[in-house]
């Protein structure tokens, strides 16, 4: 099954982290991505630019509304994602637990709604 790992972290805290800490974190993500790839679980994944670069678009009453900023104002912000192939939910949770974000923020795990046709 395919799963989406949505990575939520505190953007402000990440931005304020000292350089060596930032280096340590990105190295950890690099290693995590490699481990996913080597075991054949990796399908896709990327880091997102911070929410200050976000734009939210919504159409109401035939009128398009374009706003600066993310859709929802939350304590932790969506910062990246992985899409993985995992045998079942247990295996997906095991991967989510290894994601560096699991100890710094939250990893939301969502099964992909597969088209069965």
């Amino acid at each position: 099954m395919r799963y989406m790992l949505l990575i939520y972290v505190n953007e402000a805290a990440m931005a304020a982290a000292p350089t060596d800490k930032t280096y340590e974190i990105s190295a950890a993500y690099g290693a995590y991505t490699e481990a996913l790839k080597k075991s054949g679980a990796w399908l896709a994944g990327d880091r997102l630019k911070p929410t200050q670069a976000a734009t939210s678009v919504r159409m109401a009453n035939g009128k398009t509304n374009v706003l600066d900023g993310p859709y929802a104002d939350t304590k932790e912000q969506l910062a990246g994602f992985y899409m993985i192939e995992a045998e079942d939910a247990d295996a997906a949770i095991a991967w989510a637990a290894r994601c560096p974000a699991a100890s710094a923020g939250t990893v939301e795990l969502r099964p992909i709604w597969e088209q069965t046709m």
């Binding site: 340590e24 950890a28 690099g30 290693a31 490699e34 095991a94 100890s103």
Partner: protein, 414 residues
Amino acid sequence: MENGQEIARAAAEVAARQSYGKLVAWLAARTRDVAGAEDALADAFAAALERWPRTGVPKKPEAWLLAVARRRRVDAVRRRLTSEAGREHLKLIAEEAEAHMTDEDLPDERLRLMFVCAHPAIESSVRSPLILQTVLGFDAATIASAFLVSPATMGQRLVRAKSRIRETGIPFRVPERAELGERLDAVLEAIYAAFAEGWSDPAGTETRRRNLATEGIWLGRLVVSLMPDEPETLGLLSLMLFAEARRAARRDAAGDYVPLAEQDYTLWDRALVDEAEALLGRAATMGVIGRYQLEAAVQSAHAARRLTGRTDWVAIRELYDALLSIAGSPVVAINRAVAIAEAEGAVAGLAALYVLGDDNRLDDYQPYWAACAGLLARLGQVPQATEAYDRAIGLERDPAVRRFLQGKRAVLRN
């Protein structure tokens, strides 16, 4: 003050668990209906956990729980789907228990209940959760987090296992001599699984997990008290106590991971080590060796460093040889390879690791890659060591261990 409250709370929790597990076991042994027994007692147990820390543990805790359970029966809250079964149990309590229970203690059926939970007809991955729930009263969400499973999934698995107990008619009894060995192994394995999940949170930052290690030891003590003449039960308790004794030494002041061989042994809990040694000694007099005694003996060999100042890797290697022959697993094989490396050199250790390389299960197994990385680094094979460290870092979920591995990897380049 704070400390006094903590102690009162801990004492109350222990008493509540004792009584709760006993009552569940006693009821379930008579009806084979574990879920019904739990249902009958759930509210009373919750009330005890809330109340006893403040009021102190009542003189007859089981009688208290039963009285509350019966009172709550009439509450409208209790009219849930499952309350039918719960009511049946309460009737049983009222009829049977009142006669004996006021003066005597409840007969302890928890050992039987554990044998039911670890029965071959119960899927092995749910045995440990089942024991934690029925004997100790843990809720599904707590167990789920510890075992890295979603709470909804864990809930379903537990419900399914309990209905299986009833439907397949698993007997509530301690197995006969002939099959006891194998069946006891399953019980001990389930207890050790609970301990190991708790052990994986060395800093104790997650209270739930740390508690699980404590609960594993508690269950180990319970089994030892109920089966004092089984060497493997002594071995398991000894093993868990050795491991627990080192808790404070597993992280340094900065919260960073410290590998066993580099731990400051003055931080090991000497009372626990002594108790573990005594248990292992007692087991040895019974003349039947087994997996847990061997693993405890490995721990004992490590603990001997506090007396001799050095680690006897040759002895440890021999213990792992014996372990591999009676209970081979990737974990044992990797530890054995590490011992070989220490005793005979990195090349020999690496050779022992590479023999395992065909096993697909190792692809996602952090200890394998960490061990490879360490030995490759020692041999100066920097590119391969770097790759293996990356693999280990990517598979690790404990941030402290991740930092430790990253540190090792960084040193490679210098």
